[in-house]
């Protein structure tokens, strides 16, 4: 693309949902956009959540206006990227210890927020969801959905690239050139050395790391970081996302996503934006909290536990003790041309991008409205809805079982070759996130070395063996947090395969934290 015709140069820092939303909004308004991500797209908070695309019903009582915004955005995203959305539907169930009056308030709130809601016969709900408690006394259906975060973010990134923008993965911002009090350039460091990105403006969309980026900009952004931990159950225990019928809180949601189901989340304030540590007590707390919803939960297999850190901007003079608002905040760092956007949610990420876009556009005096809600994400107008059975059906139809590289998730070997050859992706975690390799019950026990064999075959210079070591150590790290029942056997089998058969060493010190979702 001819740079001279492009608008002002904006560097967006952060390749999560927020940063991708901002970058896409800006490029559609004619800006020259570079997105900088220190890891892989969505490897931070954007993939460390329960996977829901909210109808907003969850906030129908606590924040009805926000609930309405969620519903509008949820509709837009489903239209833009149906291939990343599964219309699971959601249920709100009243169990004996939920407040008796919440159901009516909930119903009224949904109606006010324009969220389609239906009250169901509890007997029907319990019949169609055999795993849930037999104590349901009220139940409501709402159009909750789930989103496959990596798929959607990669669609957005592809669109940005297609429109002439740049997406730099594995590039870390080291400093900003703010000569004269204005953003001049962003210094980044990547796999092939450092780069200077000339810029007229910067949007800090680094999620929990926004505070650190703001400090590099010479700004102080007060964030509250909350860690939420989630348990991954080995199959779908429920068909719809199940919420408790009470004020939204921790420990109250079970979401079927892909081939698994997630229960979450804990909530605790942390200092370190990079922490992914799930404390053993959190696992116990999650199990205890899930028991009333799914009786016998401790007999179910849990594949792993992981955590994400959610950043919320603390407004000035916010009363202590009151929970922080869910809505995002855009901070305009004065005349420097720097902005910070933080908070919000996956469901509203497009709207957040639009809001940040409005700020940036008005900074440059450009009067061009956002087009991100109406411009299709893919040139062909989007695929068909995401159905997690597609992989298995594909293997059945083609009778190509021998080519299946990851059996648990039915991933064809050719898909992997294609990604390695066409997109140059060789890092196992990158392939894993895009294709779901190693997400299933065996957690990489069998597919790990098959992947290594294939990548090494395609590129003999790639350090596949070292990568395999790190891949296994990471899979094992999340899996050992839930090492009971048959998953404990799985872990020891995995150990037998990797150490006693392949000869791989296991050394905690050699594989520090990171990439562990």
């Amino acid at each position: 693309m001819d740079k001279s015709t492009a608008g002002p140069r904006v560097v967006v820092v952060g390749g999560g949902a927020t940063g991708c939303g901002v970058a896409r909004d800006l490029i559609l308004r004619g800006f020259d956009v570079t997105l900088v991500e220190y890891g892989d797209l969505g490897c931070g908070t954007s993939s460390r959540f329960h996977g829901m695309l909210q109808s907003g019903a969850r906030y129908a009582v606590s924040d009805t206006v926000y609930a309405g915004e969620c519903m509008r955005e949820r509709r837009i995203i489903n239209k833009l990227a149906p291939e990343a959305v599964e219309e699971t539907g959601g249920l709100f169930v009243s169990l004996p210890d939920d407040p008796a009056d919440y159901g009516d308030k909930f119903f009224a709130g949904c109606q006010e927020a324009d969220i389609p809601v239906r009250e169901l016969d509890p007997a029907d709900v319990m019949a169609s969801e055999p795993a849930i408690s037999r104590g349901v006394h009220r139940a409501f259906a709402v159009p909750d959905a789930t989103v496959q975060p990596w798929r959607l973010l990669n669609l957005v990134a592809a669109d940005i690239r297609r429109r002439g923008g740049r997406v730099l993965l594995r590039h870390r911002v080291t400093s900003f050139d703010m000569t004269g009090g204005r953003v001049r350039a962003v210094e980044v460091e990547g796999p092939s050395g450092s780069l200077r990105l000339e810029a007229d403006a910067v949007v800090n969309a680094a999620g929990p790391w926004s505070g650190e980026i703001a400090r590099l900009l010479g700004q102080d952004v007060a964030l509250e970081l909350t860690k939420g931990s989630i348990l991954v159950f080995a199959h779908r225990l429920v068909t719809r996302a199940i919420n408790r019928c009470r004020m939204p809180s921790s420990f109250d949601i079970m979401v079927p996503t892909g081939t698994v189901s997630l229960f979450g989340t804990t909530s605790e304030v942390v200092d370190d934006p990079s922490t992914t540590l799930v404390r053993p007590q959190e696992v116990q707390d999650l199990l205890d909290a899930a028991e009333p919803m799914i009786p016998g939960i401790r007999d179910r297999r849990v594949l792993r536990a992981w955590a994400g850190v959610r950043p919320i901007v603390k407004p000035d003079n916010w009363p202590s003790g009151r929970s922080l608002p869910r809505r995002h905040t855009v901070i305009d760092h004065g005349a420097s041309g720097a902005f910070t956007i933080c908070g919000g949610s996956w469901t509203t990420h497009r709207m957040m991008g639009e809001d940040a876009g409005d700020h940036v556009a008005s900074f440059f005096g450009i009067n061009r409205p956002s087009e991100s809600a109406t411009t299709p994400l893919s040139p062909d107008g989007g695929g068909s809805a995401w159905n997690p059975t597609t992989n298995y059906q594909g293997v059945e139809d083609a009778q190509t079982r021998k080519r299946t590289l990851c059996e648990c998730e039915s991933i064809d070997r050719d898909l992997v070759s294609q990604m390695v050859n066409d997109e140059g992706l060789k890092r196992f975690h990158d392939l894993r996130r895009r294709l779901r390799i190693g997400f299933g019950p065996c957690q990489g026990t069998f597919c790990g070395s098959r992947l290594a064999g294939l990548v090494a075959h395609l590129d003999q210079d790639f350090p596949a063996q070292k990568e395999l070591e790190a891949f296994w150590a990471e899979r094992l790290k999340g899996a050992t947090r839930t090492a009971w029942g048959h998953h404990a056997r799985q872990i020891i089998l995995s150990d037998a395969v990797f150490r006693e058969n392949l000869g791989i060493r296991l050394d905690d010190k050699a594989h520090p934290a990171g990439d562990d979702r």
């Binding site: 294939l454 029942g485 150490r499 006693e500």
Partner: protein
């Protein structure tokens, strides 16, 4: 029905104990609900390969560095040597042709291009010594996904070896290890098959490395035929599970037990026992059948095979006999290495005859625990699975035989 000894489980330790007891003239019933972990065993006799992350050259010398209650420390070097020598010379080892008797480890090649120390490797298993410096060809079967030949070849190249990777269609329609092995077993003329292969084999090949799937019964004939047809050394490298070298050993064990008229009660899950003080009198299966016994050997395979169970609070129990499991470290460790270590090291503590504690310091008189059920060892970190299985299984059998008297 009554037997002198009931061996619970078809782990290697169970097979060894049963074989030894039958040899000593005892009546033996092996009771096991499912198949055992030999299906996962890559072959070779791993006795003590690593200590503190470093390769071990002399396993017998290395045992002093192990935990006081490590199975090898309970056995002592002399009894260890006796057990391993018995295995080498027994129909189990003979059926598998270990080149045994050594006191020093050699290095076996893994499919990830790494090296594993092994006291005696099994027949035709690729060792580092045999391949280094030779012109190698790595063969894989198209569609056979359990052998990462690309990785193996790339690692050899990285280490400066001369190697080519080739892929050919497997014999037979299917591409999994066991069916390929069966196809070699039932082939009329394996030499002719390898004769065809020579057309695509680089001419200067000194060593052909193949996935260890060249038959489950006739592998030695097949490899001999291959060697003749190709005029080069043919060596096997273990695949991912299912592993043919382990399955061959399992088959040899089963065959021997049948030949010796041992009884195999497959599917029989021991769910409880009756005891008189410190002596087990009978064991009862999950369907209510009872077997009267004079001695019991519990070879149920630890956490890996369900011999030990872990609950969601991290507590470990022994489900068949209700023995106390020792858990020196909490399972809720932060790092993966530590967490796996804690899972491995938990288990049943025993005396030198592998008898668990009954009450106070007194052991059960006729109950022995073996293999992965034992506490204070870590097969993954030590590379010692077969060694501990054979040593504990054989010594448990010896002790049971002594107790039974004449």
């Amino acid at each position: 029905m009554n037997y002198d000894v009931v061996v619970i489980g078809t782990e290697l330790d169970g097979w060894v104990a049963a074989a030894r007891l039958l040899e000593l003239g005892r009546s033996v019933c092996i009771a096991a609900p499912g198949e055992g972990s030999l299906h996962y065993a890559p072959g070779g006799l791993h006795v003590l390969g690593h200590l503190q992350g470093q390769p071990v050259t002399e396993p017998y010398a290395g045992i002093s560095a192990l935990h006081d209650h490590h199975p090898y420390r309970l056995a002592g070097a002399d009894r260890m040597h006796a057990a391993l020598s018995w295995f080498d010379n027994s129909p189990l080892g003979a059926g598998f042709t270990y080149r045994g008797g050594q006191r020093c480890n050699s290095l076996a090649v893994t499919s990830a291009g790494l090296q594993l120390p092994v006291l005696s490797s099994c027949d035709h298993q690729a060792g580092v010594e045999q391949v280094q410096g030779n012109v190698m060809t790595v063969l894989n079967f198209s569609g056979h996904r359990d052998f990462p030949s690309g990785l193996l070849a790339a690692e050899f190249i990285r280490n400066g070896e001369r190697v080519t990777a080739i892929a050919v269609d497997p014999p037979g329609a299917r591409t999994d290890s066991v069916t390929i092995a069966n196809a070699f077993d039932t082939m009329d003329d394996p030499g002719a098959w390898f004769g065809d292969l020579s057309a695509v084999l680089p001419g200067d090949t000194d060593v052909l490395l193949v996935p260890a799937v060249l038959g489950s019964k006739r592998h030695r004939d097949v490899i001999a035929a291959a060697t003749r047809a190709l005029d080069c050394t043919v060596l096997e490298v273990p695949t991912l599970p299912p592993c043919l070298p382990g399955i061959r050993l399992r088959n040899a064990c089963e065959r021997y037990i049948h030949e010796q008229a041992g009884t195999l009660r497959r599917g029989f899950r021991v769910a409880g026992m009756d005891a008189d003080q410190d002596r087990v009198r009978s064991v009862t299966g999950s369907t209510g059948q009872t077997i009267d016994v004079s001695a019991v050997i519990l070879a149920t395979g630890g956490v890996l095979m369900g011999g030990l169970e872990v609950d969601s609070h991290g507590k470990i129990t022994e489900p068949a006999m209700g023995l106390d499991a020792c858990q020196t470290q909490p399972l809720s460790k932060v790092g993966a290495e530590q967490a796996v270590d804690a899972l491995h090291r938990a288990g049943i503590e025993t005396d030198e005859d592998f008898r668990p504690r009954h009450s106070g310091s007194r052991p059960w008189q006729n109950l022995h625990v073996t293999g992965r059920n034992l506490a204070h060892w870590n097969p993954g970190a030590e590379i010692s699975a077969e060694g501990v299985a054979i040593v504990s299984g054989w010594l448990a059998a010896e002790a049971a035989h002594r107790e039974l008297g004449s």
